[in-house]
Every structure is written in structure tokens, then in C-alpha cells.
């Protein structure tokens, strides 16, 4: 070899960002090898089952468990009487896991059994005798707020009428509540009276949003085990393991350090695993009493009955604008059916007010809401968290206001859409903002304006098939949401002697692909292929704190945390290389598994070799780094004002439908979406999130309806609760607007919830375009649409009401 031929190797630039990267756990999942919680069995485990209430609203007069206890194979039977120090769960602390004194809804947990097998546990449940005294059912929140309405949480009394000797505490579960208001919110910015006075057009309408539920394909379950020293090991599908660790410690009255939560792969989350539910605490009680591991799994029927729902909302919106198209004010009142106990559904107003106050520029806004106890199921957090409901109303009014002043609906939206740099009335600061680009992109790609005009003209003509096109946009947090004391995430990173990385992150993987995105960001920073990384993210004994998977925060916050740890590692590596090879750190970079000359790309040393040298020298060192990322957002003040997220994200969806007016059947033809995501990281992953969100939104708009009648769920099964099936999905055209957020990891913002949020609103606008009939209630099933078209649906009006 001549001197001339002995050239240094040059590593060409390459990037993982924006590429289609298959999900790292996909091969195992596609082989059927992944062990979900349902597939995990501990030796010596017992099976737990819960006896649920046979009534909707009743006093519990007596519970006789003697026959159940005597059944061979039964280890433990418990009721509230066996747990005298039971503590209430939930944000309002109004909820005992095992019910005390009365039942308030169909799902209420009366007793629980741990037995050798599921069959024996089921048989034992049938032997438990409960005597109830029925109470009148309150299934309508409007009834529950009337003066003199029966209380859902009155002061507790014993079966004989005497005052119960519960442990003294200030919670609602202990002392009751003198009214049926579970929670209330009042928000205002500007002066709506002034806004109304300045308006040329004012419209007011009531919208009704219904019950739907998560329907994760994997049913809920848990395994709990106490070790010989009384430490707890829980296998749980929680989305917030660190918060739960602290809370479970409180319910068990032990030190949080003695609780370890391991998260098996999850069969779907969508927000359903953000709260602690009675079955989890009950499973712990059973394990504690039985001194054996206890596994508890729901049946699908139980999953329907006992899972939280999306928050149903009764909403009256009053909006105004000037004849030049400027929005003037919004005044909103909502009534939330809180169900029997309080979970995160009651806090959806936090998110709804962001939409009311800041989706489009609104100078004056006020919003009043109350969550009201009834004997219905309770709502929890569900992808979008109130934003679907709020957007359904706001975006219909955008079309209706435009029509009232004779302005094109696209032009009306563009006039009021915000730009980067604006700060809204609620104090949200729009640093990166692709709102207008989302609107114009979706409109152009779908040929919105022409179709809108043509369809409107055809809606009056004869023929039973009508086409419609509708548009709706959404605003959601894209950089976390500072609602807990910290919105941060911790990362620990280590590198081994072969330049393989282990990323230990607090961020959970719930099927959305976070482990792949985090790997991508770290490997990009360290110039390594994605095969060089292992992610550990599912054990509270090992991983650092993260608040949890919610508010579309994981890519942004866990991403920045991972990058922070990776940058520290890179810095250390380059410092070592600089010293060893006598060059300046600033002249070096990492690429393709090598330390390179940044300018020329020339390889200086293989990274793995450098690391081995570092390890096996006199002053041995390993590369191990940590980083905790707290986003630069702020807590809202008492008026709910403040820049609660480090970034905000927008999306516009244009929906095209075909309505058969002879049957009311609405076919969803096409969805054209444009999403401001900051930057596309994993193109394959983000497409999957958008497509899945669109179809979830399709279900909310058209097919899903959890039917409640006097507190009884009429369709707790897939036969009559209709999820969208493969032949029903629309054609999807999705564009990404890369507004490059300054704070986001590689410029990216969160997107997990966005695609579900504006589907129902766009669908309502499309049906109105097709038929001239506007629908104010969901879902748009064939019968509901047919009724609306044939004047069989009286227009709903709920008079705005505010709690005293």
C-alpha cells in the first residue's frame, strides 16, 4: 500500500431525525412473545375478584361472607369492615375502595375474594349475601343541582341510623358534603359584557357531549405481592408510576420507599391509567391479608363497567364577532356529570378553558362550570382531556359566525388565527406557532373552498346522497403541562465498553413509541446507530422520577431529559479524545460510531476503542451521566392564568363525508390533516399516532356511544359499543408543519392527543355543509342523523347555570 492510498476514513453525515424507524419492541410483539400483565404469573399466586354492587343507589344493610369464606380454595374475603383504617382515594378524597355504608353506582365495590383459581373466586362471589335498601337514583346532573335534591355524599350514618365511627378526617368520604357539587371552576379574561356590546352578531347554542370509554384492547389488571419484610411489589399498567408509588404508600400507611412498581408492556393506555382505581387498592388489601401474591384481571364487561369514561359535558356557548370578522367574546357555561366519585374527569375544565380562551384570538372570555355528583359512572382522563368537547362547540360556532356575517369560513378562521409571538388572554405564550400554516395546508390539499361551495349548493337539490366537507382546528399543550409541583423527567445514561448505551428513563412506554423516539434522540446526539441502545423504563426501583405519560409531554420532556444526559456524555467523550489526540474539543464530533474531525468528517478513533481505553487505564473511568429536565413553563395563578406549557401545538383537520339522507348513514370518506409538530422525529411513529388518533376521533364522532339509563350501562360489550372497524376508516392525507420549536428536542413538540381532538367538530361542520342541518349532540349515528334531518330532534337548550 502506498502512502497516498493510506487515507483516513471519512464518515459521511447521516441523521436519524425524520426517518422511518420501526418500533423497537415490534418484533417481539409481532411474535406473540411479549408478556403483558395478563401473561405474567407468579408462583403461589392467588386470583382476586371483586363483588360489584347489585344496585345503583342503596344503603348497605348487611353483608354476609360466611358461605364464601367456607368455600374450599378461598383464602381471603374482605369488605370495608375488615379494613377499618381504609383511606379514601381520588383527587377529592371522596371514594373508599371498598364501599362503606352505601353504594352510589353500578360499579361500586362491595367485597373482594382471593382464591386458588378464577373459577373458585367467581363462585365465592356468588355466595356473598348483601342486603340493600334502595334509594332513588339520580341519573341527571340537572336534577342533582336542584335545591332539595338528595345528596350523593351525605354525612355517613350506620345501618341503624347512628353516626358512624369512622376515623376522623376532613375528607368528603368521611364527613360527606352538604351539596352535590364535586368541583367548580370560574375563569375570566377581559370583559365579556364589553365584548358583547362590541359585537355585530351574537349566537348562543347548547351542545351535548356523550359518554365514551377507552376500550384498551388489553383489559385492566394488577399483580400485588408483599415480601417477607412487608415491602410491596406491584406489577401495574399505571401511566404515572412515581405518583402512584407515593399514593399507594399513603393508602397502605407505609413508607413510599417500600413500594416498587414494575410496569409490564401495556395493552393500551389513552389516559385510562392516570388515576388510582379501587381494584388496585383492593388487590393490595387482598395480597396483604392472604400473604400471597394476588393477580386480578378484569373481564371485558368489567372493563366497561368499572373503567372511567370520557367526561360527558352539557355546554352552552355564547359567542360574538364584528361584521369584519373579528371575534369579540366567548361566554361558556358547562355542567359536568361527575358520577358517584371524583376522578380526573372533573378537572377537564383546566384544558377546556385553554381552548375557550385561546383557540383563535378572543379578547374577552369567561367560563363557569361545575362537576356534579350523580349515580352514574365517573369520568377520568382520556386522550384530549376535555379538548374534544370544547372544540366541538368552538369550531361549530366558527362556521356559524362566519355564515352569520356572510364571510367565507376559511377566511374567517385565518383572520382570527394567531401567529408566533402572541400571548393569549390566558397568558399562554406562543413561541413556535404553525396555526395558520396548518389551516392553509389542510384547506389547499383538500380543495376545501371549492368543495364547500359546491356541496352547499347541492344540499338543497334532490337526491338522497349528499357530500359535505368540514374544517376544524385544535390547540393543545405540546411541551408538557405544569400542573404538578414538577413537570420534569430524569434520565440516567451509561455507556459500556462496546459503545452501547443504556438509557434509563423515568418516561413510560404505553405503546406510543416513546422508547423508540428517546433512543433516536440519544443516538443522534452520540452518533450511534439505533441498534446500539437499550432502554430501561419500567421499574421505579431503577428509573429516575418522571411525572408520567399525560398531556402529550413525553417526547418533549423526556426527550429533552435524554438529550441532556447524552450531551453530557458527549462532552465528556470529546474532552477525553481532545486530550488524548491533542486537538481542540470544538474541532471534534461523534458520528457513525466514531470520534471524528468535525469539519472534514475524518475518523480519528472508533468510539468503542476510546471507551475501552478510558476504562482500562490507570485512572479508570466510565461514561455515566444524569440529567433532570424541568420545562420552562410556569404554574398557573389562582385565576388559571400563566404559561402552563413550554410549547403549544396546533392541528387542522378537514373531513369529507357522504350522507345518505334515506338512512342517516354518514360515510367518512377522507380526512386531510395538517399538524404543527415542531419537527418530525420518528416519521413512522408520528404517522401511527395521527392515524390512530383520527380513527379514535372518528369513533367519538360517529360510532361510539356508552348508553346509560338511570345509572345502568346498557351496552358494556363490543357487540353494542361500536369501535371503528377496518373497512370504515377514511382515506387519510397527513401533512406535518415543522415550526421548529426552540425549546423542543430537535425542535419537536408533543402530538399524542392532537389528532383525536378536532374530528367531531370537523364532522359536524361537514354534515352541516352536506345537508344544511347542524347537529349539536354526539354521536352522529345513522338514527341520530336521520332524526335530525327529519325534524325529529328538538333543539336542545340548557340555560347557563353557575354554582353559588
Amino acid at each position: 500500500m502506498t502512502v497516498a492510498e493510506k487515507k483516513a476514513r471519512v464518515i459521511e453525515p447521516d441523521s436519524l431525525i425524520g426517518k422511518r424507524i420501526p418500533k423497537m419492541d415490534a418484533p417481539e410483539k409481532a411474535s406473540g412473545r411479549t408478556r403483558y400483565i395478563h401473561d405474567i404469573n407468579l408462583s403461589g399466586q392467588l386470583h382476586g375478584k371483586i363483588l360489584r354492587s347489585g344496585r345503583i343507589h342503596a344503603l348497605i344493610k348487611s353483608i354476609d361472607t360466611s358461605a364464601a369464606r367456607a368455600l374450599p380454595g378461598v383464602h381471603v374475603v374482605i369488605t370495608a369492615a375488615d379494613i377499618p383504617d381504609q383511606r379514601p382515594i381520588g383527587v377529592a378524597k371522596d371514594h373508599f375502595p371498598l364501599k362503606v355504608g352505601r353504594v352510589r353506582s353500578q360499579r361500586d365495590e362491595i367485597a373482594a375474594v382471593a382464591a386458588e383459581s378464577e373459577e373458585i373466586a367467581e363462585a365465592a362471589l356468588k355466595l356473598i349475601k348483601v342486603v340493600y335498601e334502595d334509594l332513588p337514583v339520580i341519573s341527571d346532573p340537572e336534577e342533582a343541582i336542584k335545591p332539595g335534591a338528595a345528596l350523593i355524599h351525605p354525612e355517613p350514618h350506620g345501618a341503624d341510623g347512628s353516626h358512624m365511627h369512622l376515623k376522623q378526617g376532613m375528607s368528603i368520604a368521611h364527613k360527606g358534603k352538604p351539596d352535590n357539587i364535586a368541583m367548580r371552576f370560574d375563569y375570566a379574561h377581559g370583559d365579556v359584557a364589553q365584548g358583547e356590546a362590541e359585537s355585530d352578531v351574537v349566537i348562543e347554542d347548547t351542545f351535548k357531549l356523550h359518554y365514551v370509554t377507552h376500550c384498551c384492547m388489553g383489559v385492566s389488571g394488577m399483580i400485588a405481592e408483599f415480601d417477607a419484610s412487608g415491602n410491596v411489589l406491584m406489577y401495574s399498567n399505571t401511566q404515572v408510576p412515581f405518583l402512584h408509588k407515593r399514593e399507594f404508600a399513603e393508602y397502605l400507611n407505609i413508607d413510599p420507599a417500600r413500594i416498587r412498581i414494575i410496569q409490564p408492556p401495556i395493552g393500551g393506555g389513552f389516559g385510562s391509567k392516570l388515576d388510582i382505581y379501587p381494584f388496585e387498592v383492593i388487590c393490595l388489601y387482598l395480597a396483604r391479608a392472604a400473604k400471597r401474591p394476588v393477580k386480578m384481571l378484569f373481564t371485558r364487561e368489567e372493563e366497561f363497567l368499572a373503567s372511567p369514561t370520557r367526561q360527558p359535558v352539557l355546554l352552552t356557548l355564547r359567542s360574538g364577532c364584528k361584521k369584519d370578522g373579528t371575534l369579540t367574546f366567548r361566554q361558556v357555561h358547562t355542567l359536568h356529570d361527575n358520577g358517584a366519585y371524583t376522578s380526573w374527569g372533573a378537572t377537564t375544565p383546566f384544558v377546556m378553558m385553554q381552548t375557550f380562551s385561546s383557540l383563535y384570538r378572543v379578547p374577552h372570555c369567561d367560563y363557569h362550570t361545575a362537576a356534579v355528583y350523580t349515580n352514574n359512572p365517573y369520568a377520568g382522563s382520556f386522550r384530549g382531556y376535555g379538548n374534544l368537547q370544547a372544540t366541538f362547540a368552538i369550531e361549530q360556532h366558527m362556521d356559524m359566525l362566519a355564515e352569520a356575517i356572510g364571510m367565507d369560513p376559511l377566511e374567517f378562521r385565518m383572520k382570527n388565527a394567531q401567529d408566533a409571538g402572541e400571548v393569549t388572554g390566558q397568558g399562554m405564550s406562543f413561541k413556535s406557532c404553525g396555526f395558520k400554516e396548518c389551516i392553509t395546508t389542510a384547506a389547499t390539499r383538500s380543495d376545501f373552498s371549492r368543495k364547500f361551495r359546491e356541496n352547499a349548493a347541492s344540499s338543497k337539490k334532490p337526491g338522497n346522497i349528499k357530500r359535505g366537507i368540514g374544517m376544524a382546528s385544535m390547540l393543545h399543550v405540546g411541551g408538557g403541562a405544569k400542573i404538578y409541583p414538577s413537570d420534569g423527567c430524569g434520565t440516567i445514561l451509561k455507556m459500556d465498553d462496546f459503545a452501547n448505551v443504556t438509557l434509563i428513563t423515568g418516561a413510560s412506554e404505553i405503546g406510543q413509541g416513546s422508547e423508540t423516539v428517546l433512543s433516536q434522540l440519544v443516538c443522534e446526539e452520540l452518533g450511534l446507530p439505533i441498534s446500539a441502545i437499550t432502554v430501561v423504563n419500567n421499574d421505579t426501583a431503577i428509573t429516575p422520577w418522571d411525572v408520567g405519560v399525560h398531556a402529550s409531554r413525553t417526547t418533549f420532556i423526556a426527550g429533552n431529559s435524554a438529550i441532556g444526559a447524552a450531551k453530557k456524555a458527549k462532552s465528556k467523550i470529546l474532552a477525553v479524545a481532545a486530550k488524548k489526540y491533542g486537538v481542540a474539543e470544538a474541532d471534534l464530533d461523534l458520528r457513525g460510531g466514531f470520534v471524528i474531525n468535525a469539519a472534514s468528517g475524518e475518523a480519528i478513533v472508533e468510539l468503542s476503542k476510546l471507551l475501552r481505553n478510558l476504562h482500562f487505564q490507570d485512572k479508570a473511568e466510565l461514561v455515566m451521566t444524569t440529567f433532570y429536565y424541568e420545562p420552562p413553563s410556569v404554574h398557573q395563578d389562582k385565576g388559571f392564568k400563566g404559561d402552563v406549557s413550554a410549547a403549544y401545538a396546533w392541528g387542522t383537520q378537514v373531513v369529507e363525508v357522504e350522507v345518505d339522507t334515506d338512512t342517516g348513514f354518514v360515510k367518512l370518506l377522507k380526512v386531510t390533516g395538517a399538524h404543527d409538530v415542531g419537527r418530525v422525529l420518528n416519521r413512522l411513529g408520528i404517522e401511527g399516532q395521527i392515524e390512530g388518533g383520527i380513527v379514535m376521533g372518528q369513533g367519538y364522532a360517529f360510532t361510539e356511544d356508552l348508553i346509560m339509563e338511570n345509572g345502568v350501562m346498557k351496552n358494556p360489550n363490543f357487540r353494542d359499543y361500536k369501535l371503528v372497524t377496518a373497512p370504515e376508516i377514511p382515506e387519510m392525507d397527513i401533512a406535518f408543519i415543522e415550526s421548529m420549536d426552540g425549546e423542543g428536542p430537535q425542535g419537536a413538540k408533543g402530538v399524542g392527543e392532537a389528532p383525536a381532538i378536532c374530528m367531531a367538530a370537523a364532522a359536524a361542520n361537514a354534515i352541516a355543509n352536506a345537508t344544511g342541518v347542524r347537529m349539536f349532540e354526539l354521536p352522529f349515528t345513522p338514527e341520530k342523523v336521520y332524526r335530525a334531518l327529519h325534524g325529529q330532534t328538538p333543539k336542545l337548550y340548557w340555560k347557563p347555570w353557575r354554582a353559588e
Partner: protein, 157 residues
């Protein structure tokens, strides 16, 4: 004591015996008696397809089949498909197309897709969508699953 019955059948190409409760369904037999947990419980009523297996060359919901009815028959589960090079193309397609998110519906989807691909040479998008109409997915919106199956069908000779 519940009535039991001995059966003999071929499972993923291997002949074997099992003693099952006469009232047990095939899904419970696979998961609890035989210990293969790749086939999933989604609803127990045949409405979601998560429990799809193949019996004598046709796909069906194992939650709707009596375990005793496996006697004398040839049963294939996702574990069998995973060990078959036939299944490799399908698995690779699912992975590359992003057809897996939480993955819970994936075994049932793949068993049904495999059956569909045996029956139809080059199924188009509409045919695949109809073929998968009995398999629910909550995560993906189906699009990438359909793309993966169409891709395998196109490559099939």
C-alpha cells in the same frame, strides 16, 4: 367436580395430548392448560378477534370454540406462525410498516392476515380491510396494518 375429557391434536405442527374441562373454551386451554400466552383475551365473545387462531386451515376465534373440539384437528397459534418462515414475511412487514403500537391486537391480526393471504393471492386494500373486519385495534387506526398486509400480498408469488 367438573367433567374432564382427554383430547389429542396437533398444535403448531407437534402432536400432543391434553386433558381439558369439557366446558372450557379453546382460548383458556391454550393460555392456561398449555401455557401459550401469545393468543389474547380481548372480550371472550368473538367481537374483537384478539384470540384468533387457525384450525384445519381456517381462522376462527378461540374464545368461541370448545377446547374438546380441538380433538383430532390441527391448530396453529401465533407461536406457530412466528416459528414458520411463512410468518417471517408477515412479521417483518408489520414491523417495517409501523403496524404495531401497543401490540395487544397484533397476534390476532397476524393470524387473520396470514389466513387471508392464504386465501387471496394479491388482496387489494378493500379486500384486506374486509378480511380484517373482525379484528379490533384501538391504537393504529388500521391503516399501517392494512398497508403491511397488502405489501406482503403484493410480494407473494
Amino acid at each position: 367436580m367438573s367433567l374432564k375429557h382427554d383430547i389429542e391434536f396437533t398444535l403448531n405442527g407437534v402432536k400432543r395430548r391434553a386433558t381439558v374441562d369439557v366446558t372450557m373454551n379453546a382460548l383458556d386451554m391454550l393460555r392456561e392448560v398449555i401455557g401459550l400466552t401469545g393468543t389474547k383475551y380481548g372480550c371472550g365473545e368473538g367481537e374483537c378477534g384478539a384470540c384468533t387462531i387457525q384450525v384445519d386451515g381456517a381462522s376462527l376465534n378461540s374464545c368461541l370454540m370448545f377446547a374438546v373440539d380441538c380433538d383430532g384437528r390441527s391448530v396453529t397459534t401465533i407461536e406457530g406462525l412466528a416459528n414458520d418462515h411463512h410468518g417471517d414475511a408477515l412479521r417483518d412487514a408489520f414491523v417495517e410498516h409501523g403496524a404495531v403500537q401497543c401490540g395487544f391486537c397484533t397476534p390476532g391480526m397476524m393470524m387473520q392476515a396470514d389466513h387471508l393471504l392464504h386465501k387471496h393471492d394479491h388482496p387489494d386494500e378493500a379486500c384486506v380491510k374486509r378480511g380484517l373486519e373482525g379484528n379490533l385495534c384501538r391504537c393504529t387506526g388500521y391503516k399501517k396494518i392494512v398497508d403491511a398486509v397488502v405489501a406482503v400480498g403484493t410480494a407473494q408469488t
